[in-house]
Symmetry: C2
Subunit: 698 residues, 2 copies
């Protein structure tokens, strides 16, 4: 649906305009306080002639001009009848503030559905119900119900949120500068994904920030992610639901279904979307990305401090948060050393000492030398800015950055404080103007920097962007396949599988001995017996025809004994594989987000250390390699304690082929478990030792 009538209306009507406390009054007061020109804003209230001395119409249909957007401050009970008038007026958008709809049980849900049907019929883009409206800073349009301080907050962060409080909290946070602030509410017509998509397209929005409780339209979200990745426009997402508890709350709050948290992580990773954990990180990361003129070209930082104590703290913070420190060049050290008092030594983190901090020229010179050093990718000025200054160090420091800013070194400077404060407004505005993000304290600041670095390093051309979103799954019945059938499904789809033969008679046993040779391995083949070893269904190291015949009988007898009702296809025979590094490749088909490929080393790696990584299919070879290298256990493949390096290339190819298989079967595959696949020495490839496919039954 087109969102321009909703978010960029040429005119709008406030229905239920009022001077009283409460939403009708708040919205009118906001419009009058925040908007420069309200000639195209119409107040509607049948009980009033005027509101705040502005003409009031009895109904929306009495307005003589066209109205793009209807803003309903009416209580829940009156919403439907007003919406009928809105439809009659031909509005393209509507905002409903009232709560008591979808979030409030079956009756509310029913009432909501009636409104939804009406909106869809009349092509009305609906925001809410149960929302707080939006603020369009880009064009100065403010149909919102927040109680926020009026200030100039125009900027380039587009914030969309399923929670109104999160919008308000962003508005209360001084350093945030917005293109849009959108409170989406229950969003049964226009969903949070569509607002994100809108802001990815929107030219006034440089950074998209969003608070998301549940994903309703994955296809819209993926489309937005893909566009953003290609444009390199950052999306910063606070998606709650890390724990079951949070999912539970999300469900009760907006009635939306939370997709599995790990799948969402994997999708975001693929598209370079930045996932954050709380509001402070959301705002800080957005501010950093919106404020910087250019992204850092590399990952090496230099920290500038005004005391040895704080230099010690930044050194520890960098170490604990895995921020790489530049090794400053001899020349740089000499030049900055010359400005320092005799008792100080240049280093990184650099303690410039009070002497240099109060000397704008010396500090500007120092920062300039740091910027010139090819080892430095960005500078972090670390000092606390308070609201009121007891000493005047900060203005001197800011002035020195202003002096450097003119010189266009094209390397970012960040400002990191140590303790929380409202920051001095004059200083923070000056920093904003010279593209220096004022970060929050300590670890939050470093998280924001890390988020910026990861985004800067993201390269969409290395990624396979085809995502296999599945058809909605209605049936829950599933079907497991025997090892042989599972193997054949993989083989038919181009996955390399060694010869497998299902033996149905002693004759077959003799044939396989002649054909394949020894050692052999025999396993019971049945879709009903998934834990084959537990029932004596596996015999390894078969080294003679005689032993093979015995094994065949034994396995069948064991199966009959332990699983009398299982349908037995026969005994699966194959060449016994040599031992390699045990690796696991699996697929879990997320009902919303499609097949996720999971990899990890076997044994304690996966079972005790949960050392696995997940990515949505398809996968580029680059992605497969990244996945492998991101495992802690990767060392085992590199050649651990003098053992030869393993065939990581073959493993990457194998993972890509499994992702391809999963993608092609997105509507039928439920799970796939290849456990183990053996990884051999470099050049020797990989081999699948066991596989299990589970599909949805049509």
């Amino acid at each position: 649906m087109d969102l321009n009538g909703l978010l960029k209306p040429k005119s709008f009507a406030i229905i239920g305009a009022s001077e009283k406390d409460g939403i009708g009054g708040d919205v009118c007061r906001n419009v009058m306080a925040f908007m420069e020109d309200i000639s195209k804003v119409y107040f509607v209230n049948p009980k009033r002639e005027t509101v705040f001395e502005k003409k009031c119409y009895p109904s929306i249909n009495d307005i003589p001009e066209p109205v793009d957007l209807a803003v309903l401050c009416t209580p829940m009970g009156a919403v439907y009848s007003v919406m009928e008038q809105v439809a009659a007026k031909g509005c393209k958008g509507a905002i409903i503030f009232a709560s008591g709809f979808g979030e409030a049980g079956p009756e509310g849900k029913k009432a909501e559905q009636e409104v939804v049907d009406l909106c869809i019929k009349h092509h009305i883009a609906l925001m809410g119900p149960n929302c707080a409206g939006y603020a369009n800073y880009a064009e100065g349009i403010f149909p919102f119900a927040f109680l926020a301080e009026k200030r100039d907050r125009k900027g380039s962060i587009g914030l969309a949120s399923q929670s109104g409080q999160v919008c308000l909290s962003g508005l209360d946070y001084y350093p945030m500068r917005f293109s849009y602030v959108i409170s989406s509410g229950n969003s049964p017509v226009i969903s949070i994904e569509e607002y994100i998509d809108f802001m990815v397209d929107d030219e006034s929005t440089k950074v998209v920030a969003a608070y998301v409780e549940g994903i309703k339209k994955p296809e819209v979200l993926i489309r937005a992610f893909e566009k953003a990745a290609k444009k390199k426009k950052p999306i910063v997402l606070l998606k709650v639901g890390r724990s079951d508890k949070a999912s539970e709350l999300a469900a009760s709050h907006t009635g939306s279904l939370s997709g599995s948290d790990k799948s969402i992580d994997a999708i975001m990773e693929k598209f370079g979307v930045i996932r954050v954990n709380d509001l402070q990180e959301l705002y800080a990361t957005s501010i950093a990305l919106a404020t910087l003129a250019e992204l850092p070209k590399g990952k090496k930082a230099v920290f500038v401090n005004v005391s040895g104590g704080e230099a010690g703290v930044t050194a520890d913070l960098a170490y604990l948060n895995d921020i790489q420190l530049s090794n400053l060049g001899r020349d740089t050290l000499d030049k900055i050393g010359a400005k320092l008092p005799f008792y100080a030594t240049p280093n990184n983190p650099l303690d410039v000492t009070g002497t240099v901090a109060y000397d704008t020229e010396a500090l500007a010179y120092t920062v300039e030398q740091l910027m010139k050093d090819p080892e430095v990718d960005f500078v972090v000025m670390a000092y606390t800015i308070t609201y009121v200054f007891a000493d005047m160090c900060v203005p001197y420091m800011v002035a020195s950055l202003e002096a450097v800013a003119d010189k266009e070194f094209r390397k970012p400077i960040f400002w990191l404080p140590f303790t929380e404060h409202s920051r001095n407004e004059e200083s923070s505005d000056k920093l904003l103007k010279i593209n220096v993000p004022l970060l929050p304290t300590g670890e939050y600041g470093l998280k924001a920097i890390k988020n910026v670095l990861r985004f800067a390093a993201y390269d969409h051309t290395k990624v396979n962007m085809e995502i296999g979103l599945p058809k909605p799954v209605e049936q829950v019945k599933t079907q497991a396949y025997s090892e042989y059938d599972s193997m054949m499904k993989l083989k038919e789809n181009g996955v390399h599988i060694d010869e497998q033969i299902v033996l149905k008679s002693p004759d077959d046993v003799e044939k396989i001995c002649d054909k394949i040779g020894f050692p052999l391995v025999f396993k019971i083949d049945s879709q009903d017996i998934l834990h084959k070893s537990d029932v004596g269904g596996v015999i390894l190291k078969i080294d003679s025809k005689e032993r093979a015949l015995e094994a065949y009988d034994q396995i069948l007898a064991n199966a009959k004994k332990h699983c009398p009702d299982a349908k037995i296809n026969g005994v699966l025979g194959k060449k016994m594989l040599g031992m390699g590094v045990e690796f696991i490749v699996g697929v879990n088909n997320d009902p919303q987000l499609g097949p996720m490929v999971m990899i990890g080393l076997g044994g304690v790696f996966v079972e005790i250390f949960k050392d696995v990584v997940l990515r949505p299919a398809k996968l580029s070879r680059h992605e497969a390699m990244e996945m492998i290298q991101s495992l802690k256990g990767y060392k085992m493949l590199e050649g651990y304690r003098g053992s030869t390096p393993k065939d990581v290339d073959a493993l990457a190819d194998f993972i890509v082929s499994i992702a391809e298989y999963a993608y092609n079967h997105k509507d039928t595959l439920k799970e796939l478990d290849i456990n183990p696949v053996f990884v051999y020495d470099k050049g020797k490839g990989v081999a699948v030792a066991d596989a299990l496919v589970i599909e949805y039954v049509q």
Copy 2:
């Protein structure tokens, strides 16, 4: 040395008193602004009759009254001669602000040593040089050079810091309330450890907070830790030097030696000292501990929010930071549900909705119900307090807590905001008064809560507090012992070791076969061959006399071939051990802090996942058990994938015996490596398979 003359002087003299900018002026201005009674403060300046209209003496010896403390604002060059006068006057304490001493290279160091000698000779407790003085809020004494805002900041946090900037930063942070703020500077006479010790004893100090760069007097620190643990007085320590970089800076800043970071961690763990990572965490944790009337009795939290969005965020924050959520009782849920609007559902995190948040009575009732629930150990009120309010929610919420505070539920309430601000002073003061700590945002707030919970759960009676601080090591020469000699050293000290025989002839080989039986293992025994397998020095599974004789010859021949210069004691023979879980127990004797016992599972556990834990010797059995259980690999000992549980009791006893051994040899042991010790099934004990002792050569 007695610190009372320094920190609680009855009178003090400011030498270099002045009205100008700079230290002499700052100190006089501070004294006049902060102190109520300055009749016992004397200004000294030979060039002035008065300073700020207060009489000025030409020298300290012209002051007709006794002077406890001399505060030297004089430049570095004049310090020594002034100190001679100070000594003559009979002062018990002195503060030297000037820098250019020990931190500034060899000459400064020499000048510092002269001052130190003089102080020691005359029993003068010296603060500094290169410091900013101290503020004694408990008694209203302010000989300090900070440029800080004057406010009533009297409280119970004692802050001592090797960095003056860290003190200033604490003074700038509004919620901090102090007993003492001490900037220790280079501290060659009175060290940071002595200030910590002083504040552990000091009755006005409830929480000791400290910034420490290097440890100089471990024995003082340990004594302070032990006293604090027994009194249950919290010590919160920001010890920098996590990375090598930070250690480097610490060294150049105060010239003090940083002990190994991991040893310090282990010591702090033992004594229940809280280690924090940066200033925000230092201040937040101190504030929380100082503000609470009582510590939480358990770990279960309930979060109270004013919106579903923020409830989602707190749920995630709790999950990510491992904070346990209370399962609220049915009765509690019903009672709080009755106050909520129809569309809201009670839960934890609890969204009380705007309706209840603006209704003081309803919110007080709600909090009261939560406090009454036996599942709840503490309450976290989560809402952002800004400096100026655009909406008045916060005052209502604070009032509701005030109503509950009277009822003495003896359960803590914390306040957690979502974004950084200077907090509204009226509201924060009210919260302080009712013992509700106002935390910093998000993860910092949860870190502070976790620190409080860990401290609350600490029980010093479970811990062996004997720490084996070693004599200073002058010699660096070390001596490794052969496996047999290492084993015997352990055995002599009560560690259980199976029979080991050094074979010197084929005769000995026949004897061991008869005596011990098969299978045997033979290894080369030489202090010069530490990697025995690499030179063919180990033969396993010897199962006959014939094989034993062959093995004996083979091992000697291999040793002669690969290590012709090694001194060979013979071939070590012993019963081959059955395989158990491979475990490593080691000791590293920290030159400052004494023997640290390290444990972990062998193989990938230690080598890839670094899954080890360190604690200083001695160890109580409880500590040994805690160490074992804190390993990620503990699952392997509990009975992994159906295997039988292992003999953790015997392992704990073994670790205790190793700690005892290490403690007893604190002055000679350098390293001990027991790799592996096999851990068998429950009831079957443990057995040492190899050991290496390295000692300092006397």
